[in-house]
Symmetry: C2
Subunit: 323 residues, 2 copies
């Protein structure tokens, strides 16, 4: 590591917020130096409970995250919040209010908040988010919340591999619940009906319950995802939600599933890092003189197709190619 990275690394472990912020920026920018820091930090991480929050835009994820953060602070726990917003290339205005409210919270030194938007590099967001989780973990945060609109596959992957995944819904004409497809149903450890002071809330909770009960394997499941009703803006139901998260943590510890979840997250992380690495290798192979040039020429002439080209590149990247 360069001198500066070593300094940042040491300062981070001593609890320096600015060092944490700077390291996070390095991770976001895909700075190669940050990879070395992440390697070193790994042994200091693994203590935080990582909570994922996902749900449609407007379901109140940020407000809930703030509510939970306040609750944890009262319990003397330190908190990290990572707001992953892949749509930030377009929105911005709508989130401004949220950001201001977040800033109020971040005046508390026990809370560290970071927003992350889409980055140019493909697959970069998931790798970067995992990196930021690991930094905040090594930084000593007891609870880390990762909040995402869950719009893209990559974002869903990030939330999927947290310890406790909250799926946030809100009352509606029933369509909202039906719109929660199987994939989302699978990832939720706890379901939240937020804005439950609105009309139709009991119906939404009932619909959700029915969907969960008909889920394959539900009957024999050791953990049955509870449905918690909240009004995040008023702080209603936050204590119950925190209790449910706590129960889930206990379940994970007692059932040995905590390690399983940790391993799943690491597996996903390794897969992401490798995909990114191979993306760079492919880019390099395709832009290099020689085989890459030749492949592109043959593709443009429609002599070979991208699948065959990928196989050829894999052929000289991989020792043995399988499909």
């Amino acid at each position: 590591m360069k001198e500066s990275a070593v300094d940042l690394y040491k300062s981070l472990l001593e609890g320096d917020r600015r060092a944490a912020a700077r390291l996070i920026t390095m991770v976001e920018n895909g700075d190669p130096e940050s990879r070395e820091v992440l390697r070193q930090l790994h042994r200091y991480s693994g203590k935080a409970h990582i909570i994922g929050l996902t749900g449609s835009p407007g379901s109140g994820k940020s407000t809930l995250a703030r509510g939970l953060a306040s609750h944890y602070r009262q319990e003397g726990l330190s908190v990290g919040i990572i707001a992953v917003d892949p749509t930030s290339a377009f929105t911005g205005g709508a989130l401004l209010g949220d950001r201001i409210r977040m800033q109020e919270l971040s005046a508390d030194p026990g809370v560290f908040i970071r927003s992350m938007g889409s980055r140019g590099a493909l697959g970069g967001l998931a790798v970067a988010t995992n990196g930021v989780i690991n930094i905040l973990d090594a930084f000593g945060k007891d609870v880390i919340m990762v909040e995402t609109v869950g719009a893209g596959q990559v974002e869903i992957e990030v939330v999927k591999f947290t310890h406790t995944c909250l799926v946030i819904t809100m009352p509606g004409g029933g369509d909202e619940i039906q719109a929660i497809k199987a994939g989302i149903l699978e990832i939720g450890d706890i379901f939240v009906v937020n804005k439950s002071d609105r009309e139709g809330a009991p119906r939404t909770a009932a619909d959700l319950e029915m969907m969960l009960e008909t889920k394959p394997g539900y009957d024999g499941a050791a953990w049955k995802p509870p449905i918690i009703s909240t009004v995040a803006l008023e702080g209603e139901g936050v204590v119950e939600l925190a209790a449910a998260i706590n129960s889930h943590r206990q379940f994970l510890e007692e059932s040995g599933k905590l390690e399983e979840k940790t391993i799943q997250r690491m597996k996903a992380e390794v897969r992401e890092i490798l995909s990114q690495k191979v993306g760079r290798a492919a880019e390099e192979a395709l832009t290099s003189e020689g085989p890459g040039e030749e492949l592109l020429r043959r593709m443009a002439a429609r002599e070979i197709d991208p699948h065959t080209a990928a196989d050829e590149i894999a052929g000289y990247l991989f020792k043995g190619t399988r499909d």
Copy 2:
């Protein structure tokens, strides 16, 4: 190829819509058989002009795509529309109206419309979308429009590598335009201010123009992205937009950039296919007995970190490892 795939493939080239629909479903499901079909189809594709439409939710992308489709139909061109909706895991209700309007259009045999949601496989959406583009291209569609909310990186990648990329905005308090970050500014070949009968439209167009003019390299650029005002619901500005798309096509042909764009798209496709392939290989390596088991155990014990584990896997997947 299996008998059934061969049949579908032949029927597709003969113009059978049902064959196209079935092949697309195979591609969406990541059916290995579909890869073989895509290989074979490659030589029949490359004729369509591929238009990307991206913009924030509610900016009217679908309505614009419909408007353009009607225009092209009047000109005797056949049209394919692929609506990529990565948020469909959560939404659904809101798109219903759109889908009904789309169905009206799809009663016309000269128009082929397909909606695609998020798929489980990481990176799968981009690969699948490119596959569907190629099928519709080989199917003989003259114009293929790919519409996406541009929420995730993968979706932006898909649109980025079309021939002509439309960025759809709408009037607002100025925030909307400021929210269009550099990355989006880079990918637009044509900018659209839709809903331009709303208050503030001239201001939005002026803001956009200013942003484009201050873009690095704008002065010397051979193609200066035009800004087109439309009211898609009334069909206003659609003719002008189609003319701008046509001008861009001509520019691409005359400048030799058409081939460059095609190559860029194929490069991106190869990279995606390889990333997917390596994701599967990494998954396999990590779940296999022996080295994978050992790596996971060491990661869980915090002896090694995911970056080092990725390097080790790369070490036996790749011939030579680079970072």
